[in-house]
Structure formats: C-alpha cells, structure tokens
Symmetry: C2
C-alpha cells in the first residue's frame, strides 16, 4: 500500500513534487488540486486534476497533502484550513512569521488530529536543521548563513516592478572573502554588504531611461540599498538563453571552540549547490511528507517542523537496514 | 534541576566530555568512573573520581552515563552492562559490528527500561545523519564520504607495532582531484586509492633499518597496501613539536538528480574541520546525552541511534524559541 499524495497548487513547486514522487517507490500521486479550471491544467505526468473546492470529496483517498502555494498570501490561509482535514506539508518561508503560522496551523491540526509539517525546504528546512545540530554540538560558537549563487525570485520581482523594465533576473552571490574568513576560523563580524553581492540582469524597454532604472535598483531600500549591486542591461534573447533556469544554494557554517580553555576550533559546514531551487525544495517536501504520514500513523498530531522529525522517518527503509548500511 | 552526567573511562574522550559539559549550563558532571585506582586519577576540573565497580551505589545521582571506552574491547561489554541500570550514550564506531552491538544493547536497555544511545560522534554520527538526510531527499544519486585531513589513530598504532618504530603518526588525506570531481557533479566511480592518500611520520630507533620499515608500512594489508602512502622519518623532537595534536575531519557528499528526465543535478555537502577529534566527538556525545535524558523522561526506552532522535531534543532551548530564532 503506497502513501497517497495530493498536490495543492500547480506551479514550479507543484511540478517539482510531481517529479520527485516518481523517484519514491513507496509513494504515489493521487492528484493535483488547483484554483484554476481543472481542464485548463495540463500536468507533466497526466495525473488527475481537480478543483480545490472539491478536495473534501477526496479525503479518504489521500494520506498527505503537499501544499505548494506561496508564503505571502496562499499558505497563511490554506495550510490551517487543510490541516483540519488532512495531514499536510508546506514550505512556508517567511522566517519572521513562522511563530504565528505555527500557532494557527497547530490549532487546526490538533482539532483535526492531523500532522501538519510547516516550513519544509532548504531555508527554512535543511539549513535550519544544520544550524540547530551545529549549535547543539558547539554551544560556544558563531553561526553564518550565506545564500547563493542563485536566483532570488523576490528580488527579481522587485526589479520587474520598476517602470521601463520588461524582465529581470537577480543573482545573490556570497562574497568569497567573507566565506573564506569564516572557513579559516577567523570568526569575523560581517555586515550585510560584506556577506553578499547582488548582480542584476535587466531587459529594458526600447525607450527606457537605463540610468534611472539602474539608480532605482541600487537605491531600493531593503532589497538593494545595503548591498554592492551591479546591473547589466541585456536583450530578451540573452535573458532567455542564459537566465531561464532557477539555480540556487548556499552555505551554513558554525565555527566553535572546545577545550578547557577554548583552545581548539572546529568548523561545521553544510552547503547546497542546486540546479533547480523548486525541484530541490519539492524533494525535501516529499521526504517530509513520508515522515508526516508515519508520525500520523503512530497517533501523533499537531503542527511539526523539521526539528521534530526523527531522521529515520524520512527514509523508506527500515531502521535495521539504515543502521547496517549508512550508520 | 540540571541533567547529571557520569563519565565512564577517563582518556582523551572522557576529558573531552568533561570540558564540553562546562559549556552546557543545563548539565553538570557528577563524577568520573574508572577501572584505575580512583586516587591515581587527576581530573581537569577536580570532579570526584570513583571506581567503576562502585557505580551502582551512585545510580540515584546520575541521569545519563557517557561511556568513553574503546570500541574494540570496552564498549561491547560495558554498554549493555551499564544500560541495565542507566541511560547511556556511547561512541561505538566499528561500523560492521553496529547491528550486533545494537541487538545486545537494545535487549539490556529494554530490560532496564533505559535509553541507550549508541554510535554517537561524527562517523558514525553526524556523517551518518547527513548520509541519511541527503539520500532521503535525493533518492536518485550517489554518496561519497572522504576522511581527513586528520590523524588516524588505528593506522598510527599499526605503524607503532613494527619493529624499530618508536613513535608514529599517520594522516589520512582526501585526494583533491577526486573531491573536486564529486563537487563538480561528475559522479565518478572512485577506487580506494583514488579517494585518499596516507602520509606517515615515523620516529625510528637509531639502529633501525628504515628501508625495511618503509616497506613494511607500504605493504601492510588493509591498512596501507591499497593506498598511495608516503613515509617521512623524523626526530622525536619534531614529532612532539609538529604532530602532538589530533586534528581530523572529512566530507560527506551526495550528488543527485531531479526533474522529469533527471535533467537537474544537486550537490549536498557536509564537512568538518576539527582541531581536536576527541573533543568534537565528546561535544556530540554531550548533546545526545541531553536527548537521551529527555527521551527517557518521556517514557521511551531501548537502544537508539542518531537516526531516532528528533533534532529539537539536542538543544536546551524550547521548541518555541528554536522556531523563532533559527528555523
């Protein structure tokens, strides 16, 4: 009996989940749920598409829903709503609002006696786990998270909202000097500007004032003003040819001391180099959907995060095999 | 009320645990238990030292024992014995014998209704965890573990047993070419020789036949025969000055594919650079001792490994704080 998964929302992330499920023999995709007209949605694997309003009719056929909406407007309402009736996993990634999202989802999941796993992905997600493990092992130390090189969709969108911009892609790039200083155990204090640079590729309208666009980008508060930013104007052809994929990645480091007089230094580093940000995030979601199913099967319920999941629950293999093969 | 820890065995690892406990405000060291005459053992922090034969008298004063013996002869008997009466953590690291160690310890821990956490450290331990997470996320992929640069104590001991050798230190070093090929997503098939080189520093007796020693090292089956090995003869002064510490580390990588046609590649890398192998291992043991205490407090018992521990149990902070601060 396979674990039956439903996908809610069919964008890049939903398609990523659809692909990831093909790699997991103990799981199967029951269907995709969308707000659009189902007949207008063509899936990669020809799985059934249903309207989200009909989802309760499928309750008995679904073990876990993977909710693939956005953190700004979709997940804050969708995840609590669906957690009343389903085990769910989401990738809510607005770090500052995680506590309130947790509270809302926890209440719903407890009422429905379901497991609701939130903020699953790589940051929050695998990066958070690595911050936690590293801090627990080396309490006297310092944490660093670098993102990139990769496309920041939020920053790309912000550029697209500038008048005269037709398309834009923004890459976040860690500053090598800062990264190497951390790796060398120098425990530097780093400003925002010292950690990352931002590189922008912009397609401007023919009659646009490029100088003004560049100025507006570089001075944009929160998004660019605190960074060294470079802007390149390119053609639409070049955009399509060289900037159509969504790579990302990053590094979490902890540098900490041990010894009677803190005489020894240790560096723990976790890094990701991802060809496709949404497909990797989807792969993490699918592994945690398995865990949600198992935890629910053991009678657990309520809101959970990656911090609450015994790692063995992520694998389809028995504890015995895992101990033998990879411990 | 602090978590009260007992240390069993007082070598490099036991001293490391003693130091690590000073960094964890929610834990305290109750005492050290040794097979030696207690009055002959001088601890770093002047904690009480007791004979191991008297340990049951202290049962009510100890929440978790951290067993710091060796995997060859100490742990196979000590861990099951002590798990009858205490929550315990050990660093059993003979990978091939983990299943049988697990069985023995599980039986004892279940009889005593205690939590016994085995094979805690960095490999097995943190490296195993990273192999598990990475494999669960990227089921279509390939795993690589590299060790070093660092001192292998087993290999150093093997050299010391050769006639004419007064002292020896062996460094295991990953081959950069192999490591970079994996990092570049080339998914190479690597032989033992292609992954690591072995560098040996040897102090020979005045009248020793150095050529013969070098030959005996390089041809030693299992330890050196399958590797490119270099041997340097040095003076005892040089050994003391340049090779007295026990650094180690290594890298766990997984390179895996996602996408409808496996068109995207992802690299997950976890690496450690450790000034002191025993102190880092001790720090991992202490974090998992906290988890053992909590799991026991919730009524769990039996043998556990790092795969069974929800990461939040490793931290002294509340779930709420962890979600707010590092998720």
């Amino acid at each position: 009996m396979k674990i039956r998964i439903g996908i809610v929302g069919y964008g890049n992330l939903g398609r990523g989940v659809e692909c990831a499920l093909k790699q997991n023999g103990d799981m199967e995709l029951y269907g995709v749920f969308t707000r659009r007209a189902p007949e207008s949605v063509k899936t990669l694997t020809n799985v059934n598409v249903y309207h989200i309003d009909d989802i309760l009719k499928h309750k008995e056929n679904i073990d876990v829903l993977v909710i693939c909406g956005g953190s700004a407007t979709d997940l804050p309402t969708q995840t609590p709503q669906l957690a009343h009736n389903f085990n769910v996993v989401d990738s809510f990634d607005t770090h500052a609002k995680i506590p309130e999202h947790f509270e809302r989802v926890d209440k719903a999941a407890k009422e429905g006696k379901n497991v609701a796993m939130i903020s699953v992905g790589w940051d929050p997600g695998m990066f958070s786990l690595n911050r936690l493990y590293a801090e627990a092992i080396l309490p006297e130390g310092k944490d660093y998270t670098f993102w990139g090189k990769g496309v920041s969709q939020g920053h790309s969108d912000a550029i697209r909202r500038i008048e005269g911009v037709i398309d834009a892609r923004q890459y976040t790039i860690p500053v090598d000097e800062a990264l190497n200083s951390v790796r060398d155990g120098e425990n530097p204090e780093l400003t925002t500007r010292q950690k990352h640079i931002r590189e922008c590729f912009v397609v401007a309208a023919d009659n646009a004032d490029k100088e003004l666009i560049e100025k507006q980008i570089k001075e944009m508060p929160n998004y660019f003003a605190d960074y060294d930013t470079t802007v390149h104007f390119i053609s639409m052809e070049e955009m399509k040819e060289n900037h159509s994929t969504l790579p990302h990645g990053g590094v979490v480091l902890r540098s900490g001391k041990t010894g009677l007089n803190s005489e020894n230094n240790h560096i723990i580093e976790y890094s990701l180099k991802l060809d496709s940000n949404p497909e990797f995030t989807a792969s993490v979601l699918v592994a945690f959907a398995r865990a949600a199913f198992r935890m629910s099967g053991e009678g657990m319920y309520g809101c959970k995060t990656v911090f609450d999941v015994p790692p063995a629950y992520l694998s389809s293999e028995s504890g015995e095999n895992l101990r033998k093969r990879i411990l």
